[in-house]
């Protein structure tokens, strides 16, 4: 578990350094995810050592958003004043984004006769 955690942190650090040095608009952890995927494809044996810790961390992913969410208390005044555009915009645009993405994926998968349901 310690080894796995250390691996994740090292890969994240490499991602952060690359993002900073190359002035990429992409954050370090996202680059780290891409790097780690590359590493796993090159060395599949690593996956089994990382799997338990990684899946455990991801099981509680929603917990990790709580501290930022509590920040809502800093913006009560603005949200109270502009609640209508904010609420409608968040609700409708999130629904539209989900629907458009899913429909485009399904339509192209069928168009090119790719099976998106089975393994």
């Amino acid at each position: 578990m310690l080894e796995a955690l250390a691996t994740l942190l090292v890969v994240q650090a490499i991602g952060e350094v690359l993002s900073y040095l190359l002035r990429l608009p992409v954050p370090g952890p996202v680059l780290g995810m891409a790097l780690l995927l590359g590493l796993l494809l090159l060395r599949p044996a690593t996956t089994d050592r990382l799997r338990p810790t990684s899946l455990e961390l991801l099981k509680h992913l929603s917990l990790l958003f709580v501290p930022a969410g509590v920040g809502v208390m800093l913006h009560v005044a603005r949200i109270g004043k502009e609640w209508l555009p904010i609420v409608v915009s968040l609700l409708v645009s999130t629904a539209l984004a989900i629907a458009v993405t899913a429909l485009v994926v399904r339509w192209t998968a069928r168009r090119f006769a790719l099976d998106d349901t089975e393994a």
């Binding site: 890969v11 994240q12 608009p25 992409v26 954050p27 952890p29 996202v30 780290g32 995810m33 780690l36 995927l37 796993l40 990382l50 899946l55 961390l57 991801l58 992913l61 929603s62 917990l63 990790l64 958003f65 709580v66 501290p67 930022a68 969410g69 509590v70 920040g71 208390m73 800093l74 913006h75 603005r78 502009e82 209508l84 555009p85 904010i86 409608v88 915009s89 968040l90 609700l91 409708v92 645009s93 999130t94 629904a95 539209l96 984004a97 989900i98 629907a99 458009v100 993405t101 899913a102 485009v104 994926v105 399904r106 339509w107 192209t108 998968a109 090119f112 998106d116 349901t117 393994a119």
Partner: protein, 244 residues
């Protein structure tokens, strides 16, 4: 008795212990409620935990900064957790290789829809310029959304709130919406939720199936990547076009 309790609270509030403990306890309570409800998306654990904590902080008059000094340790784990998404993704590599074209097209359509519709609707209903610019990156995971907001002239901390609200909205509406559209494939469902509702949507997807979670996580990473390039030119030009 009351003044004593007060001083204990003030003492504890100066250490990271309080923010950290309160976050974990609030989440445990929220997750129990979520489980009791039979994993009903309406009982979203992030939403419940946030409500509990905001109530606690308001009642005790504790500033957000004091709370965050402790809670930042939880917040920090978002980084390694994002990296860890590579593992379920690796497990889905065969599907991923086969579906790259539909996923790429869905991603582009979803990202442009998210930014464009959020700005258009909020503008039509009279949102201020700052609010508009803070809304633009709302479908992207917190740290990068805040970075984009800063770059285009929004308020990063307001963006963080919009990001969380978007994530909760997506986690709540995804199932009925995707059922109504008759999208059956877990890959497509997960991917759509990840594009629109980043990590909170991904967390919800993992609770349904590992395959759905993997595709949601992939979508979350790719959306961050694409939005980081698109939003800085799309959002300001759209906002100046709408409200010159």
């Amino acid at each position: 008795m009351t003044p004593r309790l007060d001083s204990i609270w003030v003492y504890l509030a100066t250490t990271p212990l309080l923010g950290l403990t309160a976050t974990l306890l609030a989440y445990i309570v929220a997750f129990r409620i979520y489980q009791r409800s039979g994993m009903n998306p309406l009982a979203n654990p992030v939403a419940i935990a946030v409500i509990l904590l905001v109530t606690l902080l308001a009642l005790t008059g504790t500033p957000y900064q004091t709370y965050f000094d402790g809670a930042q340790f939880v917040h920090f784990l978002l980084g390694p957790a994002t990296v860890a998404l590579a593992v379920p993704l690796y497990d889905q590599r065969a599907r991923l290789a086969r579906l790259w074209l539909p996923l790429t097209l869905g991603l582009g359509a979803g990202v442009v829809t998210a930014i464009g519709s959020a700005l258009g609707i909020a503008w039509a209903l009279g949102a201020s310029r700052e609010t508009l610019l803070s809304l633009a990156p709302k479908s992207v995971t917190t740290p990068i959304a805040m970075g984009i907001a800063e770059k285009i002239g929004g308020l990063p901390s307001l963006t963080a709130v919009f990001v969380i609200l978007t994530g909760m909205t997506g986690a709540i509406i995804a199932r009925p919406l995707l059922n109504a559209l008759r999208i059956d494939s877990h890959a497509a469902r997960g991917f759509a939720v990840g594009v629109a509702a980043h990590g909170i949507g991904t967390a919800r997807a993992f609770q349904v199936s590992e395959q759905m979670g993997a595709f949601a996580g992939l979508a979350m990473g790719l959306t961050a990547l694409v939005t980081a390039f698109i939003a800085p030119w799309m959002a300001p030009s759209l906002v100046s076009l709408l409200s010159p």
